[in-house]
Symmetry: C2
Subunit: 431 residues, 2 copies
Amino acid sequence: MAVQTVASTTDSAAANSVDLGPAAALSCRECGHRVPLGPVFACEECFGPLEIAYDFSAYDTEELRGRIEAGPANIWRYAPLLPVPADVATKPNLNPGWTKLVQADNLARELGVTGGLYIKDDSGNPTHSFKDRVVAQALEAARAFGFTTLSCSSTGNLAGAVGAAAARAGLRSCVFIPHDLEQGKVVMAAVYGGELVGIEGNYDDVNRFCSELIGDPAGEGWGFVNVNLRPYYAEGSKTLAYEICEQLGWRLPDQIVVPIASGSQLTKIDKGLQELIGLGLVEDRPYKIFGAQAEGCSPVSTAYKAGHDVVRPQKPDTIAKSLAIGNPADGPYVLDIARRTGGAVEDVTDEQIVEAIRTLARTEGIFAETAGGVTVGVTKKLLGSGVLDPSLTTVVLNTGDGLKTLDAVAGTGLTATIRPSLESFREAGLV
Amino acid sequence: MAVQTVASTTDSAAANSVDLGPAAALSCRECGHRVPLGPVFACEECFGPLEIAYDFSAYDTEELRGRIEAGPANIWRYAPLLPVPADVATKPNLNPGWTKLVQADNLARELGVTGGLYIKDDSGNPTHSFKDRVVAQALEAARAFGFTTLSCSSTGNLAGAVGAAAARAGLRSCVFIPHDLEQGKVVMAAVYGGELVGIEGNYDDVNRFCSELIGDPAGEGWGFVNVNLRPYYAEGSKTLAYEICEQLGWRLPDQIVVPIASGSQLTKIDKGLQELIGLGLVEDRPYKIFGAQAEGCSPVSTAYKAGHDVVRPQKPDTIAKSLAIGNPADGPYVLDIARRTGGAVEDVTDEQIVEAIRTLARTEGIFAETAGGVTVGVTKKLLGSGVLDPSLTTVVLNTGDGLKTLDAVAGTGLTATIRPSLESFREAGLV
């Protein structure tokens, strides 16, 4: 793996020339080693993953709350808690976030939830998935580091999010995808006019090539949102935690059901909740985090049920393509969080995913991506097994839009076909 | 046409038992005849279209402005100006609106606009088109009149909007479409679980059948959002005008480019702007409204250019299906507004529509429906011909999402295909 060498320092914030707001340094999640902010993602000491360390010490709780509430109706209301400059909202970007937290009373009735059930519906983002949140952070890091090309490997949602964000920011984009991706997905990514390069190989080959490119002079000036900008990128998922709590009236949910792909989103939601507690913005009380996978790609769920601490890779085979990461980098952290908070990790079959998509659409008018079918399906399953408590406030994430995975419900069709006459209408029993 | 008979009255508000907020009566747009609020759409005196008459007399400008600004981040912040009960925001509905007004500096540079160019991006609505705004009003009227089934005729966006809104509200829905609609559109409408009925015939046959059904006992308790609830439904488009002005800092835009299907949206945007002026919420100064059509369905544009007051029906043949109404009911009103405000009506070819979709995506990261290609294309054309003034603040509407009309840009694809190697990458000239 190509890791750019950086000078180690104990006073990294002072050594940084980049302005990324409260972000003070990069810190290794394994050994705690700190390095200055830069386009690096692995610890030089132990090769553990780097994440952002912040300096929030100057914040006054009520002043901060007021500043957030007076902020824009997008993720930048939380700029004081993100690795972005203070003037981020004035720069051209897609301004994602502040998506609806839908009180899902119909679904609650159907599932028997009495303590309040909410869908955090991220299909309302600009390119209709939560990826806009993370790409927006990576974009600021790319600007701070002087990168001129925004790049990524992707099989779907991320490609569009990167293409759109780069277009709006006036950066070049170059997105790498497997060459045989479905035409619809290619169109969704290509329409923004950036470079879209098909790689002759599978998604693993695409990733391997991207890592090579980062270490090569040809990749100079390139910010790969999910590789060399990953520590910044990943922080975007914290905004889901912030929004949920603020939308609940600055209150922690009791239970939250999160999809697992790499596991990064779940770990950052936990980080976000911990930050809100630490800052005094919400009351410190227990919350449980539940992870949701598709049975056809359930390495974390399998490890959880077996009581393991390590995650054994799987070869994905599920309709939930946006969650189909067989070797999830943050798997062990997810296991730790689920166990520590009293949550769990569960999986559902493709049939259950489709049924859950239909249930959510029928009860709440929300058409979810397959990943949303996974979380709703797992919620139902965990309620059935008594692991989720129906008397507690529960938030379920929908991270994408059903329009992007139409194939999953392709069997859905007309309930009747009639001639244009009242007689035919009556015959069909539609009265 | 089946018109329910209602008692005529000069003091209609007092006679109404329904609570639809400031809506006082229905008033004929042709002869001014007033009738009480009810599920009727044509004047009993002259068969002219009925629209909502309001009583805004009790409002204090600054108190109203404060109430709006403190309201929710959706159309219900404007509840005091809509035909809905005051507690509308507490009822289950999709809460559409408050979509982004995107300052489109990149597009402005490309088109040579110096006075400020904005895209009002309604793809951010719950089912990703402006239809959620109008259906939300119809839903409140349906509840007020005790209807139990929400219905419509549709060939696309409206079907999904009605299905989703009814699902969330706990009403039955029954949507009528031509039986041979593309499978993708059928899925988008059917997923919400309501009745979706294919009619053996074209869209005209579907409409004729719906009118028959309204007059028949079989249609009792049915609210057809775009037929017997049309006066309420149509008011939803006013919220586009309200939001644009509030998002500009309570200021009228100088120029606004609106797509024309039936023409209702454009006339209601004008009505909304006039109301804001009348209420003192914006300064009274001139604004120009421009109508945009596809050349393949340009009855209003053709009449405008010929200097006619009447609109001659056309047989639609364009990729802009959501605008393909060959006999637009509000055509004459659109002509009047365009001429009165100093605007114009123009049309663009399918090729120009596709080019405009690509231009908007490439410059601003917004993937528009074909209707958005029409407005952006017409904006470019009118700037080229000097009809639009580049030094004035201009707002262009995008009323739908590109994911719904992927076919329009189906030719978009990979910029290169390479082997997973740096050598192949260099050969492709991507460095």
